[in-house]
C-alpha cells in the first residue's frame, strides 16, 4: 500500500487502528533491522522497535506531509538507537571502545548468527566506529539508501554524509587488513 493511502486511513478515526496496523506491517522489518545492526542484541532491538511504533502512534496526528512517511519513521528509529547507546554508555561510564567490546562479545556468543568468518569480522570492524558513523555506513552499505534520504533522516548535509561514509570504509578496510 502506498504511503498516501496509509495516511488517508490514519487521518480517518474509523480506520485509524486498521491503518496503523498496516503501517506497522509495512515498516516493521526495515525499522527492526535498522535498529538491530546498531544495538546488536535482539531483545534490545525488539524493545526499541516497539517503542518506535508507539512513538509513531502518539505523534502521527502531528506528522506533516512535507517529508516522506518512511523518512519520518526512520528518523524516530535513528534517534531511539542513538539515545539508547548514549544512555548505555553514560549508565556504565563506558568509553566507546568498551561498548564496542561488549557488543563484539555478543556477536561471539550469539549462536544464531548466519555468516562466515569474514562477515563476522566486518561486523566487529563496524563496532569500532563512532555510533553516528556506523549508522551512516549501515544506511549506505546495507540498506542502500540515497544520500538525499539519509540527509533528511539524519539532518546532515549530503557532503558530510559522503565524507563520513568514505572515512568509515577506509577505517573498516584497515581493520580487516590489519587484524
Amino acid at each position: 500500500m502506498e504511503d498516501k493511502d496509509l495516511l488517508f486511513k490514519l487521518r480517518d478515526p474509523d480506520s485509524l487502528n486498521y491503518g496503523f496496523n498496516l503501517l506497522v506491517r509495512k515498516y516493521q522489518q526495515k525499522v527492526y533491522w535498522h535498529i538491530r545492526k546498531m544495538v546488536i542484541d535482539h531483545d534490545d532491538a525488539d524493545d526499541l522497535t516497539q517503542e518506535v511504533f508507539v512513538k509513531v502512534w502518539k505523534n502521527i496526528s502531528s506528522f506533516r506531509e512535507d517529508s516522506q512517511l518512511f523518512t519520518w519513521i526512520y528518523r524516530i528509529a535513528t534517534n531511539e538507537c542513538l539515545n539508547f547507546l548514549k544512555k548505555k554508555r553514560s549508565r556504565f561510564f563506558l568509553p566507546i571502545h568498551d561498548i564496542a567490546h561488549e557488543l563484539s562479545g555478543r556477536l561471539d556468543s550469539d549462536p544464531n548468527l548466519d555468516g562466515d568468518k569474514i562477515q563476522l569480522k566486518l561486523q566487529k570492524a563496524l563496532l569500532t566506529l563512532p555510533d553516528k558513523q556506523r549508522l551512516v555506513f549501515n544506511m549506505k552499505y546495507f540498506e542502500e539508501m540515497k544520500y538525499e534520504e539519509m540527509s533528511e533522516i539524519t539532518d546532515t548535509s549530503v557532503g558530510a554524509l559522503k565524507a563520513s561514509y568514505h572515512h568509515a570504509v577506509k577505517k573498516i578496510e584497515e581493520f580487516l587488513s590489519n587484524d
Binding site: 522489518q29 525488539d46 511504533f53 502512534w57 548466519d114 566486518l122
Partner: protein, 144 residues
C-alpha cells in the same frame, strides 16, 4: 582487503514468526498506554486537584443558594430591626436630627393621605378629654 571482496549479507536472525507477532505486540503496548490519555481518569490528578476543587465549588454553591440575606434589600433588612434598637443606635451616633431630616427624600415617600386614612388613628380621645386638654393649655377653640 577491500569492502567489495565481502559478500553483502545480513548475518543476524530473529525468532520464528517474530514479524508475524510484532504488530499484535505493538498494538498491545499501545492499548496498555491508552488509559493515560486525555479523557482517562488520572487518580493522582483526582486526589490532588479535582476533589478539592469540587468540594470548594459545592461549598460556594451551598452558601449561594442557602444564604437568606442574598436577595434582600437594605430597606427590608432595616425593617427587621426593632424600632427601639434603631433609636438606641441613632442615639449613640453623631448624626443630628437635622441631618436625618435632610436625608429623607420627601418627594418620593409614598404617603397615603386619602380620607380613608385616619390620621388621628391611635389617639382615640373623646370630645370631653380633648376639651379638658384645650382648657389646660388655654387654647381657644376658634383657633382650631
Amino acid at each position: 582487503m577491500k569492502l567489495e571482496d565481502i559478500n553483502k549479507k545480513n548475518i543476524y536472525s530473529v525468532p520464528d514468526k517474530y514479524f508475524d507477532q510484532l504488530p499484535a505486540r505493538v498494538q498491545a503496548r499501545i492499548q496498555a498506554k491508552k488509559p493515560e490519555g486525555f479523557f482517562s481518569l488520572n487518580w493522582s490528578f483526582t486526589y490532588k486537584v479535582a476533589a478539592p476543587a469540587l468540594a470548594m465549588a459545592m461549598l460556594v454553591l451551598f452558601f449561594w443558594f442557602d444564604n437568606p440575606v442574598r436577595n434582600q434589600s437594605a430597606e427590608s433588612l432595616l425593617a427587621q430591626v426593632a424600632t427601639d434598637d434603631l433609636i438606641a443606635y441613632l442615639e449613640t451616633t453623631d448624626i443630628t436630627t437635622d441631618e436625618i431630616i435632610e436625608s429623607i427624600d420627601f418627594e418620593n415617600i409614598d404617603l397615603d393621605l386619602s380620607e380613608e386614612t385616619p390620621i388621628m388613628e391611635g389617639i382615640e380621645m373623646n370630645e370631653e378629654s380633648i376639651n379638658s386638654i384645650l382648657d389646660e393649655f388655654g387654647v381657644d377653640e376658634d383657633i382650631l
